[in-house]
């Protein structure tokens, strides 16, 4: 049971470690420059020169608090877009890559079902997501204390916990691309492109009459800024993300079971 989860998760640990370290270093840098900007830059004056629509759509008015600064500098962009795209990209490479390199033949020669192989591979990808979350949470929590600021730990924990359904969705989308695309490169491109594309879509339509278009974007249902600055947790959004994740995985299993492995 779960041999594939164990095997694949272990294989991904080095990448998870590298990403954890990189994001921790980035978080530390953000925290180090935060006091200077929050204390010395007149954010309000600065924002007067920025179009109000942009200020509102990006939540720039929160720049002056440590919570807002963290959300804007670390979570809104690097976390949601960067890590989300990475999870989608690396999941997309799994099955498609195994098929392309002939490894899938050796796996499918064993008495395992394709459903099981796909779901276990998917579960294994949650390992990096969890590891990176735990490490970065710890670094940010410790870092804020070191620079003498305080962020509500519950909010910080919520930002990380609620990001998991979001990453799970990115992974499920990547998995669907992985079984549906004819080649690995295409799967990876489509998956990462979908995350970046929906992110842009939602950014561009926020505050316009076409705002409803952005509702296809998974980022709509996970907003670190609101969690950190208003302590509002969008549990419905998280539930929705999980439901779509399950649906995408079901479709992916179905596609994988029906297709030829060549």
């Amino acid at each position: 049971m779960f041999e594939t989860v164990r095997y694949e998760a272990k294989r991904r640990l080095p990448a998870a470690t590298v990403i954890s370290l990189a994001l921790s270093a980035f978080a530390a840098m953000v925290l180090l420059i935060a006091p200077g900007i929050i204390g010395e830059v007149d954010v309000d004056a600065l924002l007067e020169n920025v179009p109000p629509a942009l200020v509102e759509s990006m939540g720039l008015e929160h720049m002056g608090t440590i919570e807002g600064f963290l959300a804007l500098e670390l979570y809104q962009f690097v976390w949601v877009l960067g890590l989300g795209a990475y999870v989608a990209y690396s999941t997309a490479g799994t099955i498609a890559g195994d098929v392309e390199d002939g490894r899938m033949d050796t796996l499918l020669a064993a008495p395992v079902s394709r459903r099981r192989l796909l779901l276990e591979t998917y579960l294994a990808l949650l390992t990096p997501a969890v590891v990176v979350n735990v490490v970065v949470f710890t670094v940010v929590a410790a870092g804020t204390a070191v620079i003498g600021e305080s962020v509500a730990l519950a909010d910080l924990a919520a930002v990380h916990a609620l990001s998991l359904p979001y990453f799970m969705l990115c992974g499920a989308a990547g998995m669907l691309a992985s079984v549906a695309a004819p080649r690995r490169l295409i799967a990876e491109g489509v998956a990462a492109g979908a995350v970046v594309g929906t992110f842009l879509l939602q950014s561009l339509t926020t505050g316009t009459s076409a705002e409803w278009v952005g509702s296809v974007a998974p980022m709509r249902y996970y907003d670190p800024l609101t969690v950190l600055t208003a302590s509002e947790y969008d549990l419905t959004g998280a539930g929705l993300l999980l439901a779509v994740t399950a649906a995408l995985l079901l479709v992916a299993v179905r596609v994988f079971e029906e297709r030829d492995v060549q």
Binding site: T4, G102, R103, M104, D105, T106, L108, A109, D260
Partner: protein, 354 residues
């Protein structure tokens, strides 16, 4: 119950034919050779039987499981081994780790024993393996759960001759234990060593199904002999010789191979004769000893030649085709020429079996 049974099994990739209307059965405990040139559809057939792809038409049963029934086939694969021609292995881990993983997936009852014969460097990453070591690792993975039926797709590719022999010996020993093999190959010599029956596949069709003995009787040997002096094709027209090709090849003492062209000072003319021969060795050798032999080789006929003989393609037509492409170098193979005097140029007979 046959180990494998196919009924009109066909697989198309879009408009491209993989295999078409394959109907045959493989008995339990038999080594079944699946013989054909590259691109004939051998791998397509195996992939369809393994359930990697579904048949376009027809069906097959593997150990009783219908290949269109994914769950039944999954259960049957617990008793099936698979050795691909290009081992698809995760290269980022060590061989030992990979064996443990695949052992967990399919069960491991004999990897230790197998590793005494097929011994890749287990503690190194697979990425550092040579082609032969990868193949040995793939062999261990294919047999570690002691399967009753093993599909082997060109299994000796990449192995050195010693390991090839060990693999063939291993197959024979496994057969004595009652195991069944589906052995795809384009090399007649290895098929004859282990197989009981062969199916010959060409252009996606099964064209012949017979025992190895009768195949060999019909296929013949390729004889190449180099003798001193002029020889005509008729001189060697003994029973069982076909497609006799004669060519003068320059002076005896100036045994040039790449023929720079002006080494014509020798005092003797050598002639190379090649032909296909079916029959016993003795009459052939007796006749050959009537000449001054310079060189002699007797080999198994290449598979393409066998196909040509079996399925009636006219060799001379093929030769003309080759000549048309190759600027008319050489003479038609069966004209028995030798009118070139003392070989100013190396005269080569263009052979058709490329």
């Amino acid at each position: 119950m046959p180990a494998i049974e196919t009924e009109g099994l066909s697989k198309y990739y879009g408009d491209v034919r993989g295999v078409e209307d394959l109907t045959f059965s493989v008995r339990e405990g038999e080594v079944f050779g699946f013989l054909g040139p590259n691109g004939a559809g051998k791998t397509t057939a195996i992939r369809t039987l393994m359930g990697f792809q579904s048949p376009t038409e027809g069906t097959a049963r593997v150990l009783g499981a219908d290949v269109r029934d994914a769950e039944a086939l999954r259960a049957a694969r617990a008793r099936v081994g698979f050795l691909p021609s290009e081992p698809g292995l995760d290269e980022s881990v060590t061989g030992r780790r990979l064996i443990r993983y695949h052992g967990a997936l399919r069960g491991d009852v004999r990897s230790d024993e197998l590793l005494t014969v097929f011994d890749p460097p287990l503690d190194r990453k697979v990425r550092e393996y040579s082609r032969g070591n990868k193949q040995m690792l793939a062999i261990v993975i294919a047999f570690m759960h002691d399967p009753d039926l093993v599909f082997m797709d060109e299994p000796t590719s990449g192995l050195d001759p010693l390991k090839q022999e060990e693999l063939l010996e291993f197959v024979r020993a496994e057969q004595r234990r009652g195991k069944t093999f589906f052995f795809s190959s384009h090399i007649l010599s290895e098929v004859r060593k282990v197989c009981d029956r062969v199916g010959i596949v060409r252009d996606g069709h099964l064209v012949e199904l017979e025992s190895v003995e009768s195949l060999l009787d019909r296929s013949g040997k390729l004889v190449r002999v180099r003798v001193e002096g002029d020889v005509d094709a008729e001189d060697l027209a003994i029973d069982g010789a076909h497609d006799i090709a004669v060519s003068g090849d320059g002076a005896v003492e100036n045994d040039t191979i790449d023929g720079s062209g002006d080494l014509d000072t020798g005092d003797g003319q050598a002639t190379t004769v090649s032909f296909t021969y079916t029959g016993a060795h003795e009459p052939l050798l007796r006749r050959l000893l009537e000449f001054d032999l310079l060189d002699l080789s007797i080999e198994e006929a290449p598979l393409e030649d066998i196909f040509m003989r079996f399925y009636g393609e006219d060799p001379s037509e093929r030769i003309e085709r080759v000549e048309g492409v190759g600027n008319g170098a050489g003479e038609p193979a069966e004209s028995g020429e030798s009118d070139d005097g003392d070989g100013g140029d190396d005269q080569r007979t263009e052979r058709a079996d490329v």
